[in-house]
């Protein structure tokens, strides 16, 4: 039966120094699942993209003096699965399909390349994006570890 073996909630101010803070936290958190180097790199990169989107896009026109936070909620499951939810209370995305299309960006030309969602999608097993204009966005990523390495461990513990 699928059950949660660990949970983490993080609330970080939406400033760029916290991109590395967020991915470091995820690395430590998922270590319990004994990931391969590739799985760890994939997840670090996917989380970095999600958090960067919040900083660059979600709060770009946020009134000064009002709090702008990145909310990260992560879970480990016994079936070597990790889920990471990254949300904000920012401007929201008008057209999610367009935002997810590779090479599409509303960021500064030469600074952003419109690959963020593609990276999140390619480096995880599933990506769900929910957004309401003026309310905020939630990105949910799920990754199952140990694919292609034989049978998954059923206790979620290191052997």
């Amino acid at each position: 039966m699928k059950r949660i073996i660990n949970e983490m909630k993080l609330r970080l101010p939406a400033v760029s120094i916290n991109e590395s803070v967020a991915r470091s936290c995820i690395s430590s958190f998922m270590a319990e699942l004994d990931p391969t180097v590739e799985e760890l790199c994939d997840m670090r990169c996917a989380v970095s993209e999600a958090v960067t989107n919040v900083i660059v896009h979600a709060y770009k026109n946020h009134p000064e003096g009002t709090p702008a936070f990145i909310y990260i909620s992560a879970r480990l499951y016994n079936e070597r699965e990790i889920t990471v939810e990254v949300s904000d209370n920012g401007c929201g995305i008008e057209d999610i399909e367009r935002a997810r299309a590779p090479m599409f960006t509303t960021g500064e030309p030469g600074e952003r390349c419109g690959m963020g969602f593609l990276v999140m999608e390619s480096f995880t097993d599933s990506l769900t994006v929910k957004s309401r204009v003026g309310k905020g966005t939630t990105v949910l990523m799920r990754k199952i570890l140990g694919k292609g390495e034989g049978a998954p461990r059923d206790d979620g513990k290191r052997s």
């Binding site: 991109e19 991915r23 990169c45 960067t52 990276v119």
Partner: protein, 108 residues
Amino acid sequence: MENDRIVFMQRNKTLIACIGCEIDHHTAKGLREQIDRQLFIKKPDTLVLDFGSVRFMDSSGLALIIGRAETARALSASVRLVGLSEPLMKLLALSGIEKIKNLTVEHN
């Protein structure tokens, strides 16, 4: 804290930029400005971006590479990427960056 570390070396008409930090949105701006400044001052034929000491990179790094290739092209220079680790190669494969005309990726 130094979070946009980079060291430049020049050999004849080749400018080598050894990037010594993680590349994300936080560090990319500083790296971009330093590389462009050196490109305009030194006007090399070739810009070598050395990723041998880069332990992490996300799509901000892809934008950094694409942008530098554009700057280099405007100066009639080419760009060579060296020292890319497996995770960085995986990210590059996703981007279609190898289609850029004045850019070559050196495989380890």
